[in-house]
Symmetry: C2
Subunit: 188 residues, 2 copies
DNA sequence: GATTGACTATTTTGTTCATTTAGTCATTTC
DNA sequence: GAAATGACTAAATGAACAAAATAGTCAATC
């Protein structure tokens, strides 16, 4: 039985359910059916355990997005597919939501750090895709970094902020809005 | 001498300097050279005094935006001018900065309420402009509320969030980006 | 009748002390 | 003897209480 994996799974479960701060190492040990000391043979401390989980999450997200990417399709279409994948992914992963909330309303430093890391990873991924879309002439010339930033902010605004005062938007609506605002433009 | 006005001015000064929570009614009374009881002959309580100040601020913001509106220019040029005026206003005004900070890092309920009220006022203003732009056929048919929301979020992201990790964008750059993303679209 | 500031009830803040928790390490287990 | 463990410690957190500050009142004053 892979003890390290057991620990990671237990910690992921607890972080997803209760957040970073409210997860104790005793709890993780108990959940993993492992002595607390064992955790410290694999991870230097709580934050490093957390970091490993997040790094894995980032890798999983990237490969989920990548697997939905089809170079024979248009950039536009690929953004749709990647968006759908990430949206599905997000629903499955309680963890991201929990952490986003904890970062915002408690400002737990370890969580803030990790969210920044995630944001940077996502921005770099989008940026890379934007660069190749410009190269292949699929979209207009634009600043890739700024464009990635705008796309992510729009996404976050639609997913998290809009829900605060309105009915949540479903996958199709979000994809449609992206198309309307970012790709086609409002001008007649 | 208009005692009510003196109170409002003193309170505005103190809110701007110290924020809502750190402003005491004793302080306001002293600053206004007025007995504390006098404040309560004009305002039911601290929050109502605060509300009156903010309502005035919102009115001032609206008229600042309105004054920058030029019907001979295109819709998107006007939207940009109006939004920029509002955000510039917000930045210049010590009070809004202080309140923005207090809302974000202390979450003072009265401040949060008021910030929401401000955001709603801005959103309604944009929405109204979007509605008439759709009617006059200047932009495509779209959900005015969602469009106002997206525009405001994009502006805030470009003006406040982008600066956290990059060189600030100037007025012209922001205007161009807004046109590029929202109005023209990225598609070729 | 308007104004006031001493007064009160409530909230906020500071402090102490008990509990919880991250991380260690001597002991146990296989 | 290497890996695993959980009782242990130092540090962080939070509960409980006391003290201070503050919003709002109201009888006295102008």
């Amino acid at each position: 039985m892979d003890r390290k994996q057991l620990i990671i799974e237990a910690a992921t479960k607890s972080f997803s359910l209760f957040g970073y701060k409210a997860t104790t190492m005793d709890q993780v040990a108990k959940l993993a059916n492992v002595g607390k000391g064992t955790i410290y043979t694999f991870f230097k401390n709580k934050e490093e355990l957390f970091d490993e989980i997040i790094s894995t999450l980032i890798k999983e997200m990237k490969s989920a997005a990548e697997s939905s990417f089809d170079p024979s399709l248009s950039f536009h279409e690929n953004v749709h597919r990647a968006l759908f994948k990430i949206l599905e992914f997000r629903r499955k992963h309680q963890l991201t939501i929990k952490l986003y909330e904890e970062g915002k309303e408690m400002g737990t430093p370890a969580v803030m750090d990790v969210m920044e890391k995630m944001e940077t990873a996502i921005l770099n991924y989008i940026k890379e895709k934007v660069v190749s879309a410009i190269e292949t002439g699929q979209i207009k010339k634009c600043d890739p970094e700024l464009t990635a930033f705008v796309m992510l902010k729009l996404y976050i605004a639609l997913i998290f902020d809009w829900e605060k005062k309105h009915e949540p938007l479903d996958k199709e609506e979000i994809a449609e809005l992206f198309e309307q605002y970012i790709f086609k433009g409002l001008s007649n």
